[in-house]
């Protein structure tokens, strides 16, 4: 199983087997802390507690000092060993002492108990298969399936959800026999027990209460926490840089890192040779202000033709987030210069960065203020006059459907309504309502709060762990680079979650992030209205250009068509219209391409 994980940890490998109980835990390592001493799995002084660990514990030095004072002796400088002793000290409550991104396994030989835990936000993956008292786990689905090939059965409902969302929503996976340990959860398994016990140890808070404290004091508190977050994330025995897209989030991270760093900061950005979206200029302007050592890479169309199919196929689970391609490019480009890079992921979800939060909140208020018939005729009138795409979209956004559906259609470009035309016989008979029903279950109750708060929370438990962080982790780990997210800090998330959404959505949105930016960092008035950027991608152009042959090959030979998941003719029509530039179908073609390439690899391995 470990060999499959080589790219996640190229530097070392180890396995511990407890013959008496038939338990094995193994690990591959990307050395970032204590380069020579971090061999895994690690154990305590008498070999009764073993740990395999994936991730990074940012406060491990402080924890080590605390544990030493309590009489624990350490034999390495690696953060993994902290977990061993922390477990001895606190048992499963140890997770509360950890600041970091992690998935780990602790084997307690005396108690014959295995503890699995995953970090608060779901930054590091952990896949499980449990059957009849047996438990298999791994950081990647692929290596789990290698051990147990009988589990290689695609779950049609997961494929359905993937097409709608463009990612596989947890806690399920693309195959039916394997699930994920949810973010902020831990699982305790005992030899001989019928089943394991799983429980939540942290969820992002979401109480937005209007309060007396001032915006200035909240912003100051948030900046203090961000400073601490960046400071602790910059601790490494290898060089650390910052991924700078030129948007406000990564600009804030870079500015904070520059303040915290005694050396000249290294910043990295990626641009394109096609399309209207090129943010390298912005990133360069910020880098100049920060006087960072700035590196730019251009993702050319030629490069895309090679890279995109390789990356999309290599992802552990299918993922149709197009930003995975530039992120992979950037990680590969940065890897010879730094082993760790700070990123701005999570700020939009925690601090209200998506404009739809405001729009849907307004729509809900409008709807409750106006009689139904008025809303319906307004939406109808808008649709009548819809000559242009954006207006058509706006009309659906205002249509009198419940907030959750409206949000779903907004973020998924209404793909759930395209399923009828595109699905092949394997997916045709599925219950189409299940996607929305499952989403509603995950979203929970609106519970008297604002729609904006509810949607922010949903994004924190759905889109963030299952798309954003999957992309971040996989795209970077494919080239053995570690991305550390500066905003995903427990205290910062708790602060953000405790604020009234009006505080977040004031001004142009993400008000706290703007308030934390140094005053002079945004260079000119040209940049005054910073829009959401985050390495935007010219996918439509790619699908007409460098990826057009890949699309055609997919149509000819792709297993998603031959196996009956999708309808080849319907897809052909989409590809034709897109190629002729009469339509932009990239919202549907990208998921088809991503899943197609991934499925070919999946089925190819099947034959092997």
């Amino acid at each position: 199983m470990c060999a499959t994980l080589r790219h996640r940890g190229p530097d070392d490998e180890g396995v511990h087997t407890d013959a008496d109980s038939g338990v094995s835990i193994g690990a591959r390592r990307l050395a970032i802390m204590d380069l020579p001493g971090g061999h895994q799995p690690l154990c305590n002084e008498d070999g009764t507690v073993w740990v395999a660990f994936n991730g990074e514990i940012y406060n491990h030095r402080k924890l080590r000092d605390d544990l030493r004072r309590r009489g624990h002796t350490f034999s390495t400088n690696a953060d993994t060993e902290v977990l061993v002793h922390l477990y001895e000290e606190y048992g499963e409550a140890m997770v509360h002492a950890l600041e970091g991104m992690f998935a780990f396994a602790v084997w307690d030989q005396r108690a014959a108990r295995l503890l699995l835990a995953r970090d608060r936000f779901g930054e590091k993956p952990l896949f499980l298969h449990e059957h009849d008292g047996e438990l298999l786990f791994a950081s990647e689905l692929t290596s789990l399936l290698q051990v147990r090939p009988s589990l290689r059965e695609l779950d049609p409902y997961a494929v359905d959800a993937f097409f709608v969302f463009a990612y596989v929503p947890g806690p399920g996976t693309i195959v039916s026999g394997v699930r994920q340990l949810q973010p902020g959860h831990l699982l305790s398994w005992k030899r001989g027990a019928a089943s394991s016990r799983e429980r939540s140890w942290w969820t992002p808070p979401q109480v937005g209460v209007r309060r007396s404290e001032s915006f200035a004091s909240v912003a100051a508190e948030a900046k203090l926490l961000l400073d601490e977050s960046v400071r602790t994330r910059m601790v490494a025995d290898v060089p650390v840089g910052v991924f700078l897209s030129g948007g406000v989030d990564s600009t804030l991270v870079a500015a904070t890192a520059a303040e915290a760093s005694s050396q000249r900061l290294k910043t990295f950005t990626v641009g394109y040779d096609t399309g209207a979206v090129n943010e390298t200029e912005r990133a360069r302007a910020v880098a100049e202000r920060l006087q960072s050592e700035h590196h730019e890479v251009t993702l050319t169309q030629d490069d895309v033709a090679e890279r995109a199919p390789a990356v999309l196929a290599a992802l552990d689970q299918p993922l149709a987030d197009r930003a995975a391609i530039p992120l992979h490019t950037l990680s590969e480009f940065a890897r010879p210069r730094v082993t760790v890079a700070l990123g701005g992921e999570g700020a939009d979800e925690l601090f209200g960065g998506y404009p739809r939060y405001r729009w849907l909140e307004r729509a809900r208020r409008l709807q409750s203020a106006l009689p139904d018939v008025a809303v319906r005729s307004l939406a109808g009138a808008l649709r009548q006059s819809a000559k242009l795409g954006p207006i058509e979209r706006a009309s659906t956004r205002l249509a009198p459907t419940p907030v959750l559906e409206r949000n779903l259609d907004w973020v998924t470009s209404e793909r759930r309504h395209r399923r009828e035309a595109l699905y092949g016989p394997r997916l045709m008979k599925l219950d189409r309502g299940r996607v929305l029903a499952n989403l509603a279950t995950r979203a929970g109750e609106l519970d008297g709060g604002t729609a904006a708060r509810w949607l922010m929370h949903l994004d924190q438990v759905h889109y963030l762990p299952d798309d954003v962080l999957v992309k971040t982790d996989r795209a970077s780990m494919l080239v053995s680079l570690e991305i550390r997210t500066a905003f995903l800090h427990a205290g910062l998330a708790e602060l953000a979650g405790s604020l009234d959404t009006s505080m977040h959505l004031a001004g142009a949105g993400k008000a706290l992030v703007h308030a934390m930016l140094p005053a002079d960092i945004i260079p000119t008035t040209r940049f005054a209205r910073y829009r959401k950027t985050a390495f935007r991608v010219p996918a439509a152009e790619w699908l007409r250009g460098p990826l057009a042959p890949v699309l055609r090959r997919q149509l000819e030979r792709g297993t998603i068509y031959s196996e009956g998941f999708f309808d080849r003719r319907a897809a052909e029509r989409l590809v034709g219209e897109h190629a002729a530039a009469t339509h932009d179908h990239s919202d549907q073609l990208w998921p088809l391409l991503s899943f197609g390439l991934w499925a070919d690899r999946f089925h190819g391995l099947d034959e092997a």
Partner: protein
Amino acid sequence: MGSMRPDGPRPGARPRLLIVTPDFPPAPGGIQVVAHRLAAGIVGMEIEVIAPDSPGAAQFDAASGLRVRRVRGGGALRGGRNALLNFAALAHALRFRPDVTLSAHIVASPAAAAIRRLLGARTVQYFHAEEIGAKPRLADFAARHADDSIAVSAYTAGLIADVAPSARRVHVIANGADIPVDPSPRPVDRPTIVTIARVEERYKGHDVMVRALALVLAKVPDAQWVVIGDGSLRPGLEQLARSYGVADAVRFLGAVRDDERDAWLARAHVLAMPSRLPAGQFAGEGFGIAYLEAAAYGKPVVAGNVGGAVDAVADGETGLLVDPNDPLAVAEAITRLLCDGELAARLGAAGQARAQQHAWPKVVERVEALLLAGLGSSSSGQAPAPEAGRPNR
């Protein structure tokens, strides 16, 4: 300034003291307690209090026997209430003609300064902490227009020096504690940690307590945390407790009557309030009366090692001072005190002895001496400063 004193204290009559305060019981809080204990405890002066109206104020005032003028209205905005308070104080002063004005909070300083200018009344200004960071310019104004200033801790005195370098005499007089008639412990079925503070400001550290509690419970599974006090942060805090899976071990009591609070102090094993320094220019805990109140019941305390708590708690003698931003450190200190009965008893006993030195009558004496100092002599203030109330360390 430099105004003539139209009429000094009349011979034989007690000097008149006007206390102007934006906070007064029955509303809960530390500043309320300070203003009330002074109004009730100063015997050598004729006292009137100007304070905002609040629910239950009429009954409270009738029962207390104090002469309190309540100011109504001002709207929902605190600024409006404060403006009315100042106007009312000035208007009342023209009739009452105080010899001394005690401004219990800097928001009352405009009235105190005006009374001083118009009537020549001596002005003494109280400083707590948080308000200095929140309103540095007003703090500077207040310090410059007072004859003497009282800082509730050395930390607060430092804050005054930062924003008002030209402040006149600043005296450190620590806050006091009510000494219970019966401080003997009462039985409780679970190891009990209590926190007493309004749930209104983040710096009180309720959030860190939730994180710490998750770790305390690993060592003391039946521990409970009793949260006394209410405020706008409470719903978020309750949710945080659920988020950490510790809600079953927390009792949010809200604002409770004094006798119920005292009963919990008698039951508790430790009082924990890891107040931290807020970010930016905001100041945090000036002193923390709750620490002394717990000590008066013989309870050891866990407090932050910053701000005014350093004056209120002697580290290793009456309690444990820890990094208030570090849940692990807070948890370790609490766990130590819950698990080591001998240590808890020793710190509790020392705290009790120390609280005696800070009994309100003693604090009131110091403040009264300061208020009276300089009366009858010229207003240039040659009077000796009373013993600065820096707590013993």
